[in-house]
């Protein structure tokens, strides 16, 4: 049912797109029709895929490292009082800095290759994941902890059997946001300086007025972003199986 609805929405957007093209009679080099984009995609599939692979890898690695870093930070902040006092301000400052402004620096430090883009994605994901998970760890239902204390629980067991599971739904919201914005980090990184990736390809195509090809790259990026989001969402639902209606798109 859900898949069918998704297909209908997608088809509707394509029709709308075609209608705009027809109504405005826009030339292909301003706004290509869906069919033009499909043709552009079919003409050079190898080139597209070769660059897409780079970007996808950057996004996935960024999401992976950003999530791990976020989980570890949240645990450290939640568990060690001194760490909280010192790390929490750092976390807030890191978010106050516009991450995009750091992109040129990252390219300068880490080079034109993948590491600078992965770092960019990590930076962008880190805050939502850390903040959400930390918040979840902090708000453990007091009654559960009292019960555990009277049962003679060890600190580690309390963390493992109560605090972490209780924080998983909050962690899930953070990770969903992370999955949704991870592509931004990678692509912005590629725009600032790179020699591969969909972002690079888009800049290149744009400069040569190959707007249909640019749209092809964009379509690929959007599809991957969607697939990533729904995969993460699916995984999180399995992880927090006891929860109902947890994603903003549930009805």
């Amino acid at each position: 049912m859900r898949a069918i609805r998704l297909c209908i929405t997608f088809a509707g957007l394509l029709v709308l797109w075609q209608l705009i093209v027809t109504a405005t009679a826009a030339p292909t080099y301003i706004l290509p029709a869906p069919l033009d984009v499909a043709i552009a995609m079919a003409e050079r599939p190898g080139l597209l895929l070769q660059h897409a692979w780079v970007t996808f890898a950057e996004i996935l690695l960024g999401l992976l490292f950003g999530t791990i870093l976020g989980i570890v930070s949240a645990l450290v902040i939640a568990l060690f009082r001194p760490a909280k006092r010192w790390l929490l301000p750092v976390l807030v400052i890191s978010q106050a800095l516009p991450v995009f402004a750091l992109a040129p620096l990252l390219v300068l430090w880490l080079g034109y290759g993948m590491p600078s883009k992965v770092a960019m994605a990590v930076l962008i994901i880190y805050f939502p994941v850390t903040a959400a998970f930390y918040d979840g760890l902090r708000r453990t239902e007091g009654g559960w902890l009292d019960l555990a204390r009277t049962m003679g629980a060890t600190r580690g067991a309390m963390l493992r059997h109560i605090r972490i599971p209780a924080a998983l739904p909050a962690f899930g919201s953070g990770l969903r946001v992370g999955a949704a914005i991870a592509p931004i980090g990678a692509v912005v990184g590629e725009w600032v300086g790179s020699s591969a990736g969909l972002g690079y390809l888009m800049l290149h195509a744009n400069a040569r007025m190959q707007v249909d090809f640019m749209f092809a790259a964009l379509a690929l990026l959007a599809s991957f972003g969607l697939a990533l989001y729904f995969t993460v969402d699916f995984g999180l639902r399995r992880l927090t199986y006891w929860q109902r209606e947890q994603s903003p798109f549930d009805d």
């Binding site: 559960w144 049962m151 060890t154 067991a157 109560i162 927090t240």
Partner: protein, 256 residues
Amino acid sequence: MHSPFPDKPQTAPSIVLTGGHLRFAGKEVFHNLHLTLPAAKWSCLLGPSGVGKTSLLRQLAGLRAEDGEMEGTVAAGDGAPLPERIAYMAQQDLLLPWATVLENVLIGRKLRGEPIRPQDRDKAMAILADVDVAREADALPAALSGGMRQRVALARTLFEDRPVILMDEPFSSLDAITRRRLQDLAVRLLAGRTVLLVTHDPMEALRVGDDILLLKGSPARIQAPMSPTGSAPRQEDRDGLWPLYAELLKQLGAAA
């Protein structure tokens, strides 16, 4: 902890609180409070809302008062260490929503880092059968009714097999019929243990309590106005509880 008779709770001790003192941000809840819970008896604590019943029970359970100062000593009448002999039951069932009913009953062992042995599962299943939720052993708490959840909480308490039970309004969120059934069940299954039941329902106290305690005043003091006779669970008419009920209401009203 290793009793040679695993089916019987260890001999229940009496509990003595001396010099109980609690204050929150300048507000003195109780001061120099003395309380004795007789061994192997049910004591029921009544009192107006906000007088400090929950706080007192938490102090007995060895739980800290969040942002409050707590003083006083809690000891067992037999002089042996107390904390590992106390089980605590709150108004909320405190079932973990991600764990099945059976896992919830076994949670104490997991939390102490003890392995779950086959005999632990058998014991848990036997207790679940006792409280009549064995069929739901593999269900998640969300699938249970309020009464069933509270029975699982009772099963979890029983599984811990501790001689002292501290309960804070455990049945107050249930409808009258379910509440009565649970009172009867608890009286039967917790016989022989030292129990403190905090309740806001005088009739509940009269049905199950061996001693009725009243906490009232500011700072609060303990009174022991009556000890209903006859064995619990008592019946309103048969055991002549109505006059006592009226008397208790009067004392509670005067306290408020």
